[in-house]
């Protein structure tokens, strides 16, 4: 039966997979708060720019764009969170199926007379695990796509926050406040982007692990 597993190139379910996906989930949970903070800071930037009147028109435009970006980022992070929930469940399910499969395999290895009874069952289990592995592959790719999209939003956000910092200089007496808001925004987006890059690396490592 091992040869069938190898022939089908089925990844073996390991607790390490579950650890990897749990780490990814933790990263995302950690960054959800920051993504919300980016959204809030963008709103604060808009309010601050309104108080500064005509002098801060340029900053206001940048802040408005930032707010749209921040809403998209929060949405993307919520999407990532949902995908990770599904991944954790399915990786755990695969671990469960792998364990059951291992029990029957042990029986078969202990007593060759059982091969006739157990072979069809083990083959079916391997087929189910193969389908699950395929589904998990799709989920991982989807997760990577959403992370890539979120990273693009972060890049856009960083450009916008740089523009906001430039425009803040023309904000008259509110300039120091506007600069501070823009700097805070940049910091928060950089932190989200760093986590997302780490997440993509982790996903790539997990995919490589699943292939071995």
């Amino acid at each position: 039966m091992n040869s069938i597993v190898e022939a089908a190139n089925l990844p073996l379910a390991r607790a390490a997979d579950l650890h990897a996906i749990v780490r990814i989930g933790e990263d995302i949970r950690g960054v959800m708060g920051t993504a919300r903070a980016v959204n809030l800071a963008a709103m604060n930037a808009m309010l601050a720019s309104r108080r500064s009147g005509e002098a801060a028109v340029g900053f206001r435009v940048a802040a408005l764009e930032l707010r749209g970006m921040a809403a998209g980022l929060t949405e993307a992070m919520a999407g990532l969170s949902r995908l990770v929930f599904g991944l954790v469940r399915d990786v755990a399910l695969r671990m469960h199926k792998q364990r059951t499969h291992d029990y029957f395999q042990r029986v078969e290895n202990t007593d060759p007379k059982t091969v006739a009874y157990l072979d069809p069952l083990i083959a079916r289990q391997e087929q189910e695990m193969g389908q699950l592995a395929f589904h998990l592959g799709q989920l991982r790719r989807e997760l990577d796509q959403v992370a890539r999209h979120a990273l693009r939003l972060c890049d856009m956000g960083l450009s916008l926050s740089r523009s906001a910092r430039v425009e803040a200089a023309y904000g008259g007496e509110s300039a120091p406040v506007l600069k501070q808001v823009a700097a805070h925004q940049t910091e928060a987006i950089e932190s989200v982007a760093a986590t997302l890059r780490g997440l993509r690396l982790e996903l790539a490592g997990e995919r490589a692990g699943a292939r071995t």
């Binding site: 650890h19 469940r89 671990m95």
Partner: protein, 256 residues
Amino acid sequence: MKRLETLYSEGRHQWLVIARDPDRPNVLIDTNEYLVVHGNEALLTDPGGLEIFPVVFAALAAGFDPRQVRWLFASHQDPDVISSLSLWLEFNPALRCYASQIWDSFLPHFGGDEHTFIGLPDAGAKIPLGGIELEAVPAHYLHSSGNLHLYDAKAKILFSGDVGAALLPVEESALFVTDFDRHIRHADGFHRRFMGSREAVLNWCERAAAMPIDLLCPQHGAIYQGADVMRFINWFSELEVGSGLRATRPELKQAA
């Protein structure tokens, strides 16, 4: 899917519950898993059966880092309580499991080795968690012969295993008891059949009545809070249990 919800939170101390799975197959009884957290350590009560491991684990990981779970507490030896043990150990081989010492050589049938289990004595014991102590409270013969509940004096919460359990219809699956009289109808048959001895019932009721309890958290069904906790203890103390015996011996039925 099951969901993780917070029952109590004060500083570094928390109780969370993983409950309600509308998608579960009807053949499986729904279960509540409670997570007690203090600082960086967590203990999971009655982690559930092998079949529900994926949904319990996913619900836990959606709101909490499962690597912080260091202890399992099995109120007794039933499959819906602890048959997922092997999968939890696969995730974290260093996990340790508290259970009555009478199950020391039975529970390894679900997984684990001599390092996994911490056998609790009949009289109960203190259980350390991140610098505080929880208390394993005896509840033998309710319904298992080696049965322990878990009391948290700080949060005033008693995890009561099968005591207080109710088999709720889908349309009455709220997390908390809101109408005691309506709710208790779903607990009645279960307690009459699964609880074996009046002596054991009275022993438990006396012990529970002496503890300050804000939340009584069973493994199945809804959670009792506030005045409903004492209502439940009073109800239970007067219940005729051991209905299985009466069914096989008509003279006992007549005498009752």
